[in-house]
Symmetry: C2
């Protein structure tokens, strides 16, 4: 627990093919945390595109990042291309070793896993990748936000907003997080109950599983290779 | 009502000092609408910063935008600087005249009002600016999402996500919006009940009103000038 009067350095990882709201949802919270400097870091300082085409620009390159107190690792299809990227995984590992909190959103958890950081840890990620956490030695938990020691895991995509508010409360106390929630007018009213596999209409869930089949297959293959490198034996049969 | 098999051109307005999630929340929905081209437009094609420093880059300038079927007008403190900007207001007016839907988020409603588009319309905006809607001849409605004919209004900040899903359902039907909701894993679990003035702890609400006092005063002054230009007599005393 860092004292509230200690200045925090907070940093997000940005990469090509990120799901933008994995970054921009938490941004709305993290940029409002009192007495903190929040910056976005990528392999180079050049703009990148999110998986649906939004241009996002980092504040600096990974090499120029100071040691961070809070590390935020988002996800999105582009995470897959970084699963064996020694520069990015090394940066995550090094930053995580000095951070007081690590905040993973969506398939950012797979990157943290590939960095070897999830062994024995209770974790969550996007529902379509939840089974993959075992490849990295983690214990999958089907909840929207999972807190395990210094780690905050948010499940898929927009769960990053809920996770970031939980993180803000951990860092600066409930009242600070409540003030940020009011600033964001975060009192959601989803028009349907279709946000999870458990509540979505079955036909829509089938269609979404189908559209994720190719990326999930690639992720399974990569996770298998990474597990072998990490010396992890995956105990169960993988389904989808 | 546009047939589902008609291609849609969807465009968002971007400007310096936007509240980024007014754009990026809806982006997550609008970029997934089937059979549509979605682009972001700003006064020039140069990157701009959101009110907390996020760099955002438009796809093209306002002048290069085609006639849009769906116009999205976000808000944020930077809206105030555009309230008498003839180029931006003229663009909003022109695009709105040909669009089948206009989607206002947060204080984007004040821009639409300054463009003279809200006379007699039921509308909503950020709670701290709700009373200002009368300056533009609109009828303020204290709801998170208000639909009035071709118009979809979302209240403050993250309400844009709920508004965009409602808009997706209007454009492409409930099932399409439900599929997008599942893709976004939008089943929010806010950790506190602090997202509205009605539910936030009173001390936090007082503090937030205080921090918005200066911008609200500027907005009231500007709205008075704009109302005079529009020939609107504001019927009530303005409180905060």
């Amino acid at each position: 627990m860092i004292p509230h009067d200690t200045h925090l350095r907070i940093g997000s990882l940005l990469f090509e093919g990120i799901d933008q709201i994995d970054l921009t949802g938490p941004f709305e919270v993290l940029s409002r945390i009192p007495n903190a400097t929040y910056r976005i870091y990528a392999k180079s300082a050049a703009p990148v595109r999110d998986l649906n085409g939004l241009w996002l620009t980092p504040d600096a390159s990974l090499a120029d990042a100071p040691p961070l107190d809070v590390l935020h690792v988002p996800g999105g299809f582009g995470q897959e291309a970084l699963m064996e990227d020694t520069e990015v995984l090394g940066w995550i590992r090094q930053q995580a070793s000095g951070a007081c909190h690590i905040f993973s959103v969506c398939t950012g958890a797979l990157l943290c896993g590939a960095a070897g950081l999830l062994k024995g840890r209770r974790a969550t990620t996007h529902w379509a990748s939840l089974h993959l956490l075992r490849f990295f030695g983690a214990i999958p938990v089907n909840e929207r936000v999972v807190i395990d020691g210094a780690w905050v895991f948010a499940a898929g995509v927009t769960a990053g907003i809920d996770g970031a508010l939980r993180l803000a409360a951990e860092l600066r106390g409930d009242e600070s997080a409540q003030a940020i929630q009011l600033q964001m007018v975060y009192a959601p009213e989803p028009p349907f109950h279709s946000g999870t596999p458990e509540t979505a209409p079955p036909a829509i869930l089938r269609q979404e599983r189908q559209s994720l089949r190719a990326i999930t297959a690639r992720r399974e293959e990569t996770a298998g290779r990474v597990a072998a490198k990490l010396g992890i034996t995956v105990p169960v049969t993988i389904g989808d």
